[in-house]
Amino acid sequence: MTAVRPKWQEPPRPVTSFAKAVTVVVVLALVTVPFLVVVSTSLADPRDVVANGGWVIWPERPSLAAYREILNGGIVGRATLVSLAVTIVGTALSLTCTVLLAYALSRPGVYGGKPLMLLVLFTFLFPPGIIPAYLVVKETGLLNAYAALIAPVLVNTFNLVVMRGFFQSLPSELYEAARLDGASEWKMLWRITIPLSRAVLAVIGLFYAVSYWNSWFHALLYLDDPAKWPLQLVLRTYVLAGGQLADPSAGEAGLMSAPQTVQMAVVVLATIPIVLVYPFLQRFFVRGVLAGAIKT
């Protein structure tokens, strides 16, 4: 492909072209080489990895042993199902609740709208600490239940504010016209707001999905039974196994640590779903994120 250059523009000097090419190669390498190293190391022979100081660029003797080690025993398989279920159910519930609340708070003249908004913002400025949150989960009987992974984080205030901003940017004339035609609030939400907000819904849906998929800390605090743990918490134990200890003098420093091949295989496994989903939602991204930024 030849670039079209206006007649008045001088052709670039070879030095400039060369510098541009070098820059592009360097930037590309910065992105691709670490990724390549991760994938290659996960497929390499552990002996080669140790001999090379912890990583390889290209697996000389490729093997799937690291993946087999992780996927054997059924723990990771089960955890994947848990993670998928929590992500799907959680995202659906979160998106529903966020849309409903954002819609209510975006409409002018809602009774108690402003105090409610301040209450929501208060949780944004002063999030609960670990222990108060734990006590609430415990008192509501959610300990050791999957619901504990969803209920405490059902509505994210940041997402709510972005979505409310987007809803407020929709022209009020549309709602007036709908009102004149006799539409109820439900109908206006369903027929006007949602169809016009697909970009922001996609982005916030992705935000929720990613945060549910990546979440491990709530599971650690609220689920005692490792059989219920989601994927990220289980994978985390593979990365940490035998690793940095709080106090090596305690005498456990000699535990065999997971080889780097296993750790890298964990990274690959944890990234796959997001890598699969992201390209399809990427086009909404900039539009959706900017949506709530400026009030019109």
């Binding site: 140790v50 001999a51 090379n52 100081g53 912890g54 080690e69 054997n72 025993g73 059924g74 723990i75 301040l118 208060f122 002063f126 670990i130 222990i131 734990y134 006590l135 415990k138 800390f217 650690l220 605090l221 005692d224 039974d225 490792p226 059989a227 743990w229 289980v234 985390r236 134990t237 593979y238 940490l240 196994a241 035998g242 690793g243 940095q244 200890l245 709080a246 106090d247 090596p248 003098s249 305690a250 005498g251 456990e252 420093a253 000699g254 535990l255 065999m256 640590s257 780097q260």
Partner: protein, 543 residues
């Protein structure tokens, strides 16, 4: 209206913050849980277990008995099933990956069956122990058995133990421990390393060998440059590690967590006390003494000469081990338990050994003793009958090497988790290797026998080398006089206060600060609470 409500919100938040801050300092007054002035119950009587004789005998000082072959005739260490069939909830730290669920886990089932209880074990990954325990102890729904260890401290740990846990003195103090013969087999240094709370016994110690750390060396490499650790001076040592530092290989290995191995190896070489020195009833921190400064200066010179791995400040323990195994590092400072995995991992490429300390100053070189414990286990308050039942369970788990109980809790079930080699050594099966093992189901963190030198499937010669090192090093071990003593300031802020020292060491060794800066570092440590810690230890020791 809006303004008023905002102000009210701010006022409310401030009031809440102030009240919680005040509450936080309220009941932490010095000595509130200490042993000073309290009547102390005697330590449990030590009754050693008469098991299979070791071919490399241990000593009362702390040299571990060594076994080059597995005992042929195992004995039983408990008469009846200790449990009463009830459900027992326990919590412990883990360094492994999650175990398979109880319904599918034959190891878990076999141990439950042998113990006669339905054990529900909650395992907390090491990295998340503090956060999870903070929530667990905040709720009032405590498990029956709580294992605290691995260098972790709970927030105001002694207060928690005193308020929520069962006082075990009436079952374990003095000769009473004889009702639990395997607990009576735990050495005195382990009980003392755990310590008492308000003069009473609240836990069962998890014993670890007395030498806490060592410098692991690539024996072949050190021999190749003519170094002999049986009689080396600091100049011999420096010459050797400098000679080994060439072609991107380094004589000295350490990691970001252990400050160039100064406290673990160099200090002993220069004859420094172990963390604290007891000087006529007063406690003096090792860092404030000239021996420490000499060791610091020595490490600084080695770093300047390029003998340390250049990224020592940023590499993890795992990376350090990897570089040691592949020959990049010719030595590393690490916990003693790193020995067997190191021997296995280098696969005979060179002999892994522990180095004796060099003679750094006028004093005789020493090694630093560890606390002798990994941590300890406490029990939730319960009826005396239930506490006794739980103690019987822990007694079973503490059955020593050479018993059938030990074999079950360390190697699993014969035929399922291990098969026997011709000499009787348990050899792990595929199921064990695939994850159904005691790394992932670490039952030993509830109670465990004193450790011995026996490495299944590791070259017996390495056991002899380690035993020889212990025989030479343990008599030189210096204990930390503060182990087992309580300082409220240290419990609350010790990590933050000591950070000044660690940052100072890093800056001086790497040459970012001049050697003279050390006095300022020590002064800062004293003023930020160091002196207070020393006073509290002294008070506790005197009482």
């Amino acid at each position: 209206m809006t303004q008023l409500s905002r102000r009210a919100v701010l006022l409310g938040a401030t009031a809440a913050a102030v009240s919680s801050a005040v509450g936080a300092c309220g009941d932490g007054s010095p000595g509130s849980v200490g042993n000073a002035g309290a009547e102390k119950v005697p330590w449990p009587t030590y009754v050693p277990f008469a098991g299979p004789p070791a071919d490399l005998p241990g000593t009362a000082e702390g040299v571990q008995p060594g076994y080059t072959v597995y005992p042929q005739n195992l004995v039983s260490a408990s008469k009846a099933k200790p449990g009463d069939g009830s459900k027992v909830r326990a919590v412990a730290v883990t360094y492994g990956t999650p175990p398979t669920p109880k319904e599918q886990n034959k190891l878990w089932q076999a141990i439950n069956d042998a113990l006669g209880i339905d054990l529900e074990l909650t395992l907390i990954p090491d990295a998340d122990f503090d956060a999870k325990m903070a929530t667990l102890t905040a709720g009032d729904d405590l498990p029956d058995i709580i294992s605290i260890g691995g260098g972790h401290r709970l927030p105001r740990e002694q207060d928690f133990v005193l308020a929520k846990c069962a006082d075990l003195s009436d079952f374990l103090a003095g000769d009473k421990v004889k009702a639990y013969p395997n607990l009576a087999n735990l050495p005195a240094y382990a009980w003392q390393g755990m310590g008492r709370v308000k003069g009473r016994l609240y836990g069962i110690p998890l014993e670890r060998p007395l030498p806490g750390w060592g410098m692991f060396i690539n024996r072949d490499a050190f021999t190749s440059v003519g170094a002999n650790d049986q009689s080396w001076s600091k100049d011999d040592f420096a010459t050797a590690v400098k000679a080994l530092s060439k072609n991107k290989q380094y004589g000295m290995g350490a990691n970001k967590g252990n400050q160039f191995g100064i406290r673990q190896f160099h200090l002993g070489a220069f004859g420094s006390p172990n963390d604290w020195k007891l000087d006529g009833g007063k406690f003096v921190k090792a860092e404030t003494l000239p021996e420490f400064k000499a060791a610091l200066g020595f490490a600084r010179d080695l770093f300047a000469a390029g003998a340390y791995y250049p990224d020592t400040m940023s590499i993890s323990t795992v990376d350090m081990k990897t570089y040691f195994y592949n020959g990049t590092l010719k030595s590393m400072t690490d916990g003693l338990a790193a020995f067997a995995p190191a021997v296995t991992s280098v696969k005979g490429a060179y002999a892994v050994d522990l180095a004796l300390p060099f003679k750094g100053g006028s004093a005789a070189p020493t090694i630093m003793a560890g606390s002798g414990v990994f941590g300890y286990t406490v029990l939730k308050k319960a009826s005396p009958e239930r506490v006794q039942m739980l103690l019987r369970v822990l007694d079973f788990l503490a059955a020593p090497f050479g018993t059938k109980e030990y074999e079950l809790t360390h190697f699993g079930v014969e035929g399922t988790h291990f098969t026997r080699a011709a000499d009787g050594t348990p050899k792990p099966t595929e199921l064990w290797k695939a994850g159904e093992n005691v790394t992932n189901f670490p039952i030993g963190y509830l109670a465990e026998a004193p450790r011995v030198l026996f490495f299944s499937g590791v070259d017996p010669d390495s056991v002899k080398r380690l035993h020889k090192w212990e025989t030479l090093a343990v008599p030189r071990a210096v204990k930390n006089p503060a182990v087992g003593l309580v300082s409220d300031t240290s419990n609350r802020n010790g990590v933050a206060i000591n950070k000044a020292l660690n940052d100072g060491i890093n800056a001086i060794v790497t040459g970012r600060e001049p050697m003279d800066a050390w006095e300022g570092v020590v002064k800062k440590w004293r003023e930020s609470g160091g002196d207070k810690i020393a006073e509290e230890f002294a008070k506790e020791y005197a009482g």
